[in-house]
Symmetry: C2
Subunit: 202 residues, 2 copies
DNA sequence: GTCTATAAGCGGATAGAC
DNA sequence: GTCTATCCGCTTATAGAC
């Protein structure tokens, strides 16, 4: 169920399974993902997977947890001091102008997994947690800005929900359409939204 | 491939198949959707479906076209004269405060189908078209407002991309999370964004 | 156009040896 | 812990009667 992350170095079998699942998912897509696909990705037999997980569903729920951790690690490092710089930093992480391979892979996989949340309650709860975490993070930054006087007296929750919805929509457009120019346009518009909403310029 | 909508009344077999697919999809979800599920939904044998469509994939592509038409019909009626009222009308259609059964069903199905666009090029093109249509519709309204002087001199494409990304993100949150309060918060924030961006108030 | 019957294969999952 | 072998149900798809 959970992947050890003791110190470093020798990956546990569970970690190797998660990595194999990641690759299989990228290669075949969620709908064509099978236990055999996963086993192929790290030279292990199908039945060994059943030693570590009770069922395919069990394995996939574990994988979603693993993928969420990756996503959160990649996104939620906020080293800046200035609230606005902090917001810009998060938006840049969520909606990079040029994404690297790792970012693209995580985005693709998350996008495929998200639709499973429509019908699978365990998945739904995990995505609820992820979006809650994002909103809370943005909200805290906005709150800090309001308190220290660098932002106007806005409703921090409302702004945070807006930012997260916009970013999620733009991320979905990246993975599910050929509208290549859209994410950049949204980035620009989001920056101007934050500037005008939080600092009253335009 | 295409569903006749000649005048009205007696549905063609293709239309009945599309309706059955709709119900089967709601009942079982995309991943557990089978030809047998669909046949069960309108009391017809599996093999008859193969008389009308060459393969399951063929049927699903046809269904996506059918579902897109439904979605567009439901969303893109813009009877208002005033540009701002027009925008509010579209946002209300896309992000209703209280959704009825039909709206919820379309939203659910579209959300499940969208993830298939990650790996299926035919699906991807259809979602590209849909988002293009949405963005174009919003952009045209903003352009009209700028031209007739009721809106400020904004970049209409940028505003349209922002609105569509935000709405799509909020719609996804409705179908894939338990964050029940999010869509309403986004609605409020979007209204205030449009007001301040297009009319310079806040 | 719709049916019954069935092919052919893949899927998840288990048994039992090592 | 990992393997080979196997079960069995369900899936897509086709053949051929009506």
């Amino acid at each position: 169920m959970n992947a050890d992350q003791s110190g470093e170095e020798p990956p546990t079998t569970e970690e190797r399974i998660m990595e194999a699942t990641f690759r299989a998912l990228l290669k075949h897509g969620y709908n064509d993902l099978s236990i055999a696909n996963i086993a192929d990705e790290f030279e292990m037999s199908k039945s060994s997977l059943y030693y570590h997980y009770d069922s395919k569903d069990d394995l996939l729920v574990a994988f979603l947890g693993f993928a969420s951790d990756r996503f959160e690690e990649a996104v939620l490092s906020t080293p800046e001091d200035d609230p606005m710089a902090n917001l810009e930093h998060i938006v840049e992480k969520l909606l990079p102008i040029q994404l690297n391979e790792e970012q693209e892979a995580i985005g693709t996989v998350m996008s495929e997994l998200r639709s499973e949340a429509v019908t699978n309650e365990a998945f739904r709860e995990q995505f609820t947690e992820m979006d809650d975490l994002l909103v809370d993070t943005v909200r805290d930054i906005v709150e800090r800005g309001v308190e220290d006087g660098s932002f106007r007296e806005v409703d921090p929750t409302r702004v945070a929900e807006h930012v997260v919805a916009t970013v999620n929509g733009a991320r979905a457009s990246r993975t599910t359409t050929n509208r290549d120019q859209a994410p950049a346009a949204v980035r620009v518009s989001l920056a101007s939204y934050l500037d005008s909403t939080l600092r009253g310029r335009q």
